[in-house]
Structures are given as C-alpha cells and as structure tokens.
Amino acid sequence: MSTPKRIFVKGNEAISRGALAAGVKCFFGYPITPQNDIPEFMSSAMFEVGGQFVQAESEVAAANMLLGAAGCGIRAMTSSSSPGMSLKQEAISYMAGSELPGVLVNVSRGGPGLGDIGPSQGDYFQSVKGGGHGDYKLLVLAPGTVQEAYDLTIKAFDLAFKYRNPVLVLADAIIGQMKEPVVPWVPENLDPNEGQDWGLQGAKDRAPRLLKSLFLDDGALAGQNQKLQAKYQAMQAEVDQELFLTEDAELVVVAFGSIGRIVKSTIRKLRGQGHKVGLVRPITLFPFPSEVLLNLAKEGKRFLTIEHNMGQMVEDVRLSIRTVADSAFHGQLPGNLPTPDDFEEPILKALEG
C-alpha cells in the first residue's frame, strides 16, 4: 500500500497514523473525550497491521498493559486525556523506575477534576514535574500543528527506546480535534532487534531478565536514582524549540503547543504594526530549552509567557532566566477557547513594560 502524498485529518488521527508509521505493535486505550478518535481509529487499524488492540477496563489498566508490553521490548502505546492521565501516574512512575519505553499521549482538557471537554494546558506540571511519585522525568513532546503531532509521535517511539524511558506526547483538544493537511511519512531503517537485548522473551539459554523498580538492599535505590538522573542529563541532547522572529525582538513570547501556534498569528499582526515581538515555542517541554531562553535574556530581551492555564510553564521560564531577567505571565483561562485577539492586549501591555 503506497503512502498518500497528503491527507486531511484530525490531530488525533495524525497521532494514530504516526504511531502506525513508527511500527507500534500494541495499543491499549480507554474512552475519554477529546481523544476517542485515537482508540477508535486504532481498534481497526491495529488489526490491519497484525498488531494488538485492547480497550482496557480503565486508564489504570491500560497504562499497566503498556508497562507489560513495553517490558517485552516492543513498541506500544496508550492515549488518554487529563483525568485519565491522573489515573496512569503510578504506572508511569513504575515504567520510569523500571526503565521501560512506553509511549503515552495526553490530549489534554480543562481541569481540575472533571473540568470540561475543551482544550487547556493545565497538565504541564503533571507531565513535566511528574504526576507520579519519586524522582523521575518523562521526555515530553508538545506538538503545535497536526503535522507536528504525526512527526512527534514517530519521534516519541525512537526516543523511548533510545533512552529506555517513557515518553509523553502532550497535545490538547485543539490539536486533537482540528483537521489540517498532513504529509505522512514512514521512518526507514527501523531496527528489528530493538529492545531484544533487555526485553522479556523467556529465558532460553541465558540468564533470566528482571524488570523491576524495587531496590531494597543498602545503597541500591540510591544507585538506581543516580543512574536515572544521569540518563535525564543525557536527554538534554534532545532539547528542541522553534524560534520565530526573535533576533530583533524586544519582547519574547514563550508559549507551547496550540497556544504557541495561535500566538504566532497575534505576533504577525503586531509585527505588521511595527511592534518587535518574537516567539520561543518549546517543542520538548522536558528537556526544557533553558539555555536558549537564557541566551535571549542575556541579549536584554523581555519575556511574556502565555499559556492556557493558571501559570505552569512560566515557572520554568523564570527558572531559566532567573539570574538575568523575569517573565510576565498571561493565562488564558481554562474553559475559554483562545483566539489570536485574546493575546493582543497582554502582548502590548508587556511591550510597554
């Protein structure tokens, strides 16, 4: 079957197609708005490619199925939305502690609690600072377009296996539900032996392998934590961001995901009026583009962080530039759909200082 040149799909479908292109073998999901397109698409697509689909009894169960499948060193994925991601946190902590390459997708919605079924970016803390217990990090990728949702889902699998760590694709209801053109592509040279030097297969003619996160012996847990931290340090090599009109900007807007993309429209309009505004759009939320921001701060630029929450990523922006500058903050309230016009006044206000 040939790959079509261009398709017009929802972000949720793009994520699903990206996973298929990446060779995902198992998908475990559960219904929750606004990501139902993903398990629905996968429920037939997985069988067509000889994979496995399970609608689990809960998001908890789905995350634990992911743990098991990832433990066998094969590409597996689960998807959910904010409340479901809360349920998955224990399994995520276990996957991080046991060093398993599970891929998770959060099509985030408004919170806290039941919230609403519209978009928000209120899961930044949960995703980046760890909603689960213990000192661990997920690689977090934040697409801003439907094409990026496709591309970053493929990347998620590569990174998960490169670092033997769970990876999270953090989208929102806007990205998940809007339709845009996508140029699908299939990665070449997928390693057929990926994960087979540590995954569970049955201990024939070799010593048994044990995947666990329990370390009770004296010093063992300390050693494990040091090992994990070294890995998270190594992950800094994967930092990625988009810089938009920052060279001569007086004010740098920092925004991720759908907001990063919407605020571009605002910036284009204000540039047309002569205002010198630019954008840093983090694409990896962990690792965070701290160095890029610090360098811009050292050039004397001012900062305004815009997010669809009550103030989460702004803390990381402030941490990044703390010795040199500070960041103002504008939060689009969860529950209110953002438009480019919403950001005009906050940007102008920040420009005035």
Binding site: A56, V60, M65, L67, A91, L200, S213
Partner: protein, 253 residues
Amino acid sequence: MTQEIRVTNYPEVLTDRASHYCPGCHHGTAHRLVAEAITDLGLVDNTILVGSIGCSVFIYNYLTLDAIESPHGRAPAVATGVKRARPDKIVFTYQGDGDLASIGMAEIMHCANRGENITTIFVNNTVYGMTGGQMAPTTLVGQKTTTCPGGRCSENEGMPIRMTEIIASLGGVAFAERVAVNNIKNIKKARKAVTKAFEYQTKKAGFSFVEILSTCPTNWRMTPLQANKRIETEMIPYFPLGNFKDVLAKEEK
C-alpha cells in the same frame, strides 16, 4: 549391588536458596507447584512471570524466569500487555488476596472475562500478609485482623469474597479451580490443577485460574501447625475445594 536413588527431585527452575517466607507459610509450596507444572510441560524456556505486590513480591528470586514487577493489583493488566506483545510465550501472574481481590478486582475480572490466554495463581490466606495482617476481601466473618480488631463484621465489612466462583462465571474463563496444600492429598490435587491450568494456556483455551488456600501463621497469631489446621477447620468450609469451570472437560465428555 545396591543403588541409592534420590526420590525428591526439585525442578531446576526452582532457585536453590533460602526464602524470606515465614515458617509454615504455604508460598513455598505454591511456588514449587508452579515450578513443577512448567517443568513437566516443558515450558520453562518460554515462560514469563508477572509478579505482584505482597509477601510474594520477591517470587522472582525463587523462580529462575524472565520476570516483571507490577503495581499492586495490576498484574493481570501487565500480563495482558506481556501476552499481547508475546503471544507465543507462557505468561502467568502470582497474586495474593489483597492484590487480586481488593485493589486488583477490576483487572482480574476483565482479564478473565476477555479470556486472555494467561494463568493466574491466586494465593488466598485471608489477610494482607506483607503489611502486617490487615483485613482482606477474603477475611472470614469473625476473624480478627489489625483493621477489624473485633472480628470481621458483615454489616460493616461485608462478606468474604469467593473469587473462584466469580471467575468461573465469566465467559472467557477456561479453567477455574480452588485447591489447598494443607495435607498430602490436597497437595497432589493442587499439583494436578496447577499443571492443568498451564496446560490449558498451551492449548489457548482461555483464561486459567487456580486459587490456593494458604496459611499466614504470623498474622493469624498461630503456630504453623495451628495455622495449617485452620485451613481445614475454617477456610475449606467457606471456600470449598473443587473445580468450578473446565471447558475442555465438557468437550471430552
């Protein structure tokens, strides 16, 4: 000329090391039955163990198998993931009564109902052992534990749950049997049941389940001999031994 032969042959997959289990705990016996079953059936090289949380969290130290640790109650979901990833392998969970019948109730029910081709060994000793003897879903009425110090009271705590009967009622289940290991006769029956459960997995018959009534002398505040006696006097009357589902037996008839 005479020749001395060794009557007792412990399977190689049963790791030769001292265990952390209490004196008189039946976990060791249950582990051995699993080891014997997968050895007799020639499955050792292709078996993956999915551990759980309880005293048996260290089962991977006692069975020389590829193994993965699960969060509390989630072993049937983890096992589903393992089996779906590796359908040609033999996958089993080994769980206690807190893990399986309390926090893990949804996972075991749905794994069984989906008819996942895995085997669950359920060790029921009517308490949460590892954490010091709290009440479990299978604690008997009147039984004293640290969280029902006056004895389990049905009005407040409900009745103990009979898991094998419930599991047997689910469509995807091929084999569900309750056994005990408190005497030789029961150990022999238990061995047969555990072997059959794994055999049914090789036949892709569906989900197989064996509940093993077991002791917890420490948390029952009994000697091992007293605890062993309790299996017969108190537990078997409420949790009857026997087969509750055997889909292949019907076909044979």
